[in-house]
Each structure stands twice: as C-alpha cells, then as structure tokens.
C-alpha cells in the first residue's frame, strides 16, 4: 500500500460513468483485480473522509505503464460529482492498492463473471488476468438502462460470451443479471463465479452458488471511514472458518472480496433476525492472492 500525489492523465465518459486515468506507478505496479483506491477530497469543502473506488485497470507494461484507471458514478453525491469534474493534469492524493484481491482458480478453468452497473469495472481487470492465465471467461453485464451497462462492447474482446441485461430492456434482454445466471452457468459450463453487484443481488447469487455448489467470490461495498484498517467502521459479518460463529471483518483489509457463502447476508443487510450461517461448507476458491 502506497500513498501518492497522482496526476490525472485523462478522463473520459463511459456511458453514465466517468473513467479517470492516473499516473501512479508505485500503486499501479502492486494493483490486482478487486482492490481499490482511497482518494482524498479537496480541502476547504464540506468533505471529511476519503472516497473509495475499485481499480479498473492497472498497467504495468507497454505504453500505459504506471497508470491506473478507475470509474466513477458521478450521480451518487458531492464527492463522486467533484471527482467526475476533475480534469487532466490535476493531482489527486491517492492511497492504494487497498484490500484483498480476487483469487484465481488453480485447477478449475471456466469462470463466469457477473456485474451490475459500474461494478463491472473491477471485473474487466479480473477477466484480463484470468485470460492471461488461460481461463475461459464468460460475462453477464447488467444495468438499469443501456447507459449504465459498463463497456458491453469491450467485454466481447475478453469474454467467450457476453449476456447483457437491462431493467428497461434498452440493451440486451430485459431483466436483472440474476435472471441470466442459470442459463449462463449451463451454457458456459461455469466452474467458478465472480460477482460485483448491489448486496441484495449478491445475496441471491450466493444462494444460487451454494445450491449449485459453485465456488464463488464477490466484492462487496460497505461505508468506509479510512479504507486501510484503522477505524473498524466498514465491517461485514463473516462466518468463522469452522462456521460456528461470526466476526465483523473489515471490508477494507479483510475484503472487499469475500467468499459469499461465509457472509451472514441477513445479519449484514439487517432485514431479518440473525440466522446462523449454513453449517455445510461450500468449496472455496483459495482466499486472497492466488498466483501473482
């Protein structure tokens, strides 16, 4: 983890989002898919905390070496709005890479990647790394409208198949990414599932994977005070290894990537009384890291 004063190389619109490319060699070099950045907001405004963004691309080689790209949904609030308005040659105070990355399967081959909206940003980075490891990648991309589906065209370069789902049917099929999951698993003969989506969707994906005994990893988001483990505000309830109890693990250092079968979804999402996690363990992708 490094802290850098990073220059914005360029920014561009990607559908409903703004994509920002930074020059930050020390961070780029260490970045892996699923990890994120903590970006300081400008001084003298009504901001207190940093804002957090998943890493979309980290270029170690070639013409873009030393650059990092992340994607901002400018509609959320003042911080994302400010970032989306930042221009080339401005400097950002960035800490990263933060958090545990997705791990890559050692033996299994067929990977199904699902994302809703901007969540796809980190899955593109993951897809690249999986392809580089000779895995088969299939993708399901969702969004409310065609504008909020992230880079559906680019996806085709990395992915054997790409299913696009929109809530209003303006692109691909009408529906959510969940609707496309069973078919996609069958078609792609998926052995491993990776997902980034709103927590309720992830919960359903977790249930599906558990039922079908599919190992999975999900990247979650929880409100963060720091992003690097100091404050204990970003926790998610995760079953202990033996599943006899749970711990509130910090999403920023113990996550944001988790084995969904170990998250106590109902406890986390606070809608139902606390229920114990499933007693029967589901095969897990080796946690954290994988082959470098």
């Amino acid at each position: 983890m490094k802290r850098a004063r990073a220059e914005i190389l360029s920014t561009r619109r990607v559908g409903a989002y703004r994509s920002i490319t930074l020059v930050a060699p020390e961070i780029a070099e260490r970045s892996r898919p699923g990890q994120f950045l903590a970006i300081a907001m400008p001084e003298g405004r009504a901001f207190i905390l940093r804002r957090h963004f998943s890493i979309h691309q980290a270029s170690r080689h070639g013409g873009w070496a030393g650059t990092l790209e992340f994607v901002v949904d400018p509609s959320v609030g003042a911080g994302t709005g400010w970032l989306a308005g930042a221009g080339a040659h401005e400097f950002l105070d960035v800490i990263g890479p933060l958090g545990k990355a997705f791990s890559y399967p050692k033996r299994l081959t067929n990977c199904l990647l699902l994302a809703e909206g901007r969540g796809a940003a980190s899955l593109f980075f993951l897809a690249q790394e999986l392809v580089a490891r000779h895995k088969r990648v299939d993708m399901i991309l969702g969004g409310r409208t065609l504008e909020s589906v992230f880079k559906p065209v680019d996806a085709k370069r990395l992915s054997q198949t790409v299913v696009v789902m929109t809530a209003d049917g303006s692109l691909g099929e009408r529906g959510g990414i969940l609707d496309a999951l069973p078919d996609a698993v069958a078609r792609a003969d998926a052995e491993v599932v990776y997902a980034v989506a709103p927590a309720p969707t992830l919960r359903s994906i977790a249930a599906f994977c558990r039922e079908h005994r599919l190992p999975a990893q999900v990247a979650i988001e929880e409100r963060m005070g720091c992003g690097f483990g100091l404050c204990n505000t970003c926790v998610v309830p995760v079953a202990t290894k033996d599943r006899s109890a749970y711990e509130n693990l910090r999403a920023c250092v113990d996550g944001p990537v988790f084995d969904p079968s170990r998250i106590l979804w109902d406890r986390w999402l606070g809608e139902l009384p606390i229920v114990p996690p499933t007693a029967e363990p589901v095969p897990a992708i080796p946690h954290g890291g994988g082959e470098p």
Binding site: A16, A46, D73, S75, V76, E116, G117, R118, G119, G142, G143, R144, S148, A167, G175, G176, L178, D179, A197, P198, A199, P200, T201, L202, S204, I220, E221, E222, R223, W268, L269, G270
Partner: protein, 321 residues
C-alpha cells in the same frame, strides 16, 4: 400525489403558520428584518433573551468562525424587561410574525417577575425559558443543568403563564432526556433542543483569543448531529411532547431531518445571519418535500424514519428486480 395543504403546526396551544421559527438572538429588534423577509411567512420569531434589568452585554469581539460553525457571545445584551415590553415587543409584533419571548435570569424571582409582566400581553404567543446562564442564587455555572432547579424554575413559569412555555435545555448536558422529562413534568408545554454548548475561539497565528469575554457558545451546522440525537432521544421517550429543534438547521433538508427525527418545529439561528429569509426558504424546502412525499402536513414526517439501507444496496445504480 396530494399537495401539502398547509404548513400550520400546533405546538401544544401555539399555532404557527409554518414550523420554522427564527431562533433567539438571531431575529433583531423588530426593525431589521422588515423588507428582507415576509414575516407573515415566518413560523415565529423568538426574541433575544430578555432579563429583568438591562444588560450592556459582553466585550468585543463577539463572533468568530469555526469549522462549520460560529463561536459567539453577546452576554445577553438586552434593554431589560420593561423597555423591551414597551418597545421591541410591539415592534416585533407589528411585523406580523408570532412572537415567542425568551426569558433569562439568575434567580427564581427574576423568572417569576418576567412571567408576570408578560402575562396578558397579547403580543406574546409563547415563552421560551433560557436556562443556560449562571444560577446566581445557587452559585452554579449552568442553571438549567440541574433537575432540581429546572423543575423549580420551569414549574414557576409554567404555573403562571397563560401562554405555552418551552424550556430551552442547555447544550452540553449528559442527560437530555432526563432534563426534558423534568421540564415537562414541571409543566412545560414542550422543549427546545438545544441551546448552544460552551465553546472557545482561538487564533493560533496571533496567539489570541477570538472572543472578548474569553469563552462563548457554538452555533451552526457543526451542531446538527448533536441536535438530531437530542431530538430523537426525547421524541422517542416523550412522543406527545412538542419538541423544537435548534442547532444547525440551515436548509429545508436539515429541517426535514429534524422533523423525521421527531421534532414538531425547528429554529434557524446562524442561517438567518447569512440569509435573512432563511426561515422562509427552509419552510419552502419542507413544502417541496411534503409534496414529493404526498403528505399534507409537517407532522406527517414524524415517525417515517427507517433503519439505514445496506451500503451495498444503494451504491449501485440498479436495484434488484
């Protein structure tokens, strides 16, 4: 979607055209706001705190900025009760706003005397009891921080008063719910939560204090989370008691937060200093919100508060089908 029929609120006997009042000490002397705001569209003006005899007030300077706040001290400068009643009170009322008179003192006798003089004055819609000053009789720093004394003072005022009485509880007290309960049991119609907490302003570069009397009081947006907590806790404990939120209300959204937390009305102090029409613009914000929510009265916002949405669910543009 029904349109907001009216912003009228009834605070236990005082009916206000809107739930947005101008806080004590931030509304001038009846002359200044004329022309800057339509006073008939202001819920009420709370007078500066009046004492039995004139106070020349605190040493200069009296105000400094702090992060999202101001530190101030006027020393309750006021002309004294009788000149107030024959001058400022009439002028304030002439503007067309409902008048709440804030009374302050250091002894039971002073509070009793002021209440007796204000009784029967048709200009007085309600009394707000200032309780953050020194207790001269019992030699205590904050008169209203002690339940025994609160009970005594509020009880005496409430028994005598023909108009509703609101106890403005001191800021920076640990047991707000307990004090509110004491005030209400003693006869207060409702409570104003909270007075400004004690504060200090300091200029590191010049190595100087910023306020002539050394210390002062904190006001402004910085206080909002503390105000909301006090309002919420008291409203949960005493759901039938009119609670007026004071401290950090600047926008319509701030006011909606207070109403959601359980307030029946809000006061705007610091915000009025920057935007003299703040009480009206804040009320307009409430109207917009009521219309959007299809509510017909500000009271409809009370009790609508839900637990937080899970972070992961709101951070993405798409909700689960």
């Amino acid at each position: 979607m029904t349109a907001a029929r009216s912003l009228v609120v009834d605070l236990g006997g005082i009916v206000l055209p809107t739930p947005v009042m101008i806080a004590a000490g931030c509304g001038g002397t009846g002359r200044e706001l004329v022309g800057l705001v339509d006073l008939r569209r202001v819920g009420a003006i709370v007078s500066r705190t009046i004492t039995v005899t004139e106070r020349v007030g605190a040493d200069m300077p009296r105000i400094a900025e702090s992060p999202a706040g101001i530190v101030w001290e006027t020393g309750l400068q006021n002309p004294g009760l009788d000149p107030f009643v024959s001058g400022e009170l009439l002028r304030l009322a002439r503007g067309g706003a409902r008048i709440v008179v804030s009374i302050g003192g250091g002894s039971l006798e002073e509070y009793v005397h002021m209440t007796s003089v204000l009784q029967g004055r048709p200009e007085v819609a309600a009394i707000e009891i200032h309780l953050s000053g020194r207790d001269d009789e019992l030699d205590r720093d904050v008169l209203g921080a002690h339940p025994d004394r609160l009970n005594e003072i509020v009880g005496a005022v409430a028994r005598m008063s023909l108009v509703p009485v609101f106890a403005k509880l001191p800021g920076g007290c640990d047991d707000v719910v307990g004090l509110a309960r004491t005030a209400v049991r003693a006869g207060a119609t409702g409570v104003t939560l909270l007075a400004s907490p004690p504060a200090l302003g300091l200029d590191a570069t010049r190595e100087r204090l910023r306020i002539g009397t050394v210390s002062g009081w904190l006001s402004g947006p910085a206080l909002k989370p503390i105000t909301l907590r006090a309002v919420f806790d008291v409203a949960q404990a005493l759901p039938d008691v009119p609670v007026i939120a004071s401290g950090g209300v600047r926008t319509g959204e701030d006011a909606v937060e207070c109403l959601l937390a359980g307030a029946w009305a809000v006061q705007v102090g610091t915000a009025t200093l920057t935007d003299p029409a703040a009480a009206v613009t804040v009320a307009q914000g409430i109207v917009r919100r009521l219309n959007a929510a299809g509510l017909t009265s500000p009271a409809g916002l009370r009790g609508r508060l839900r637990p937080p949405e899970p972070t992961g669910a709101e951070s993405h543009p798409v909700s689960t089908p």
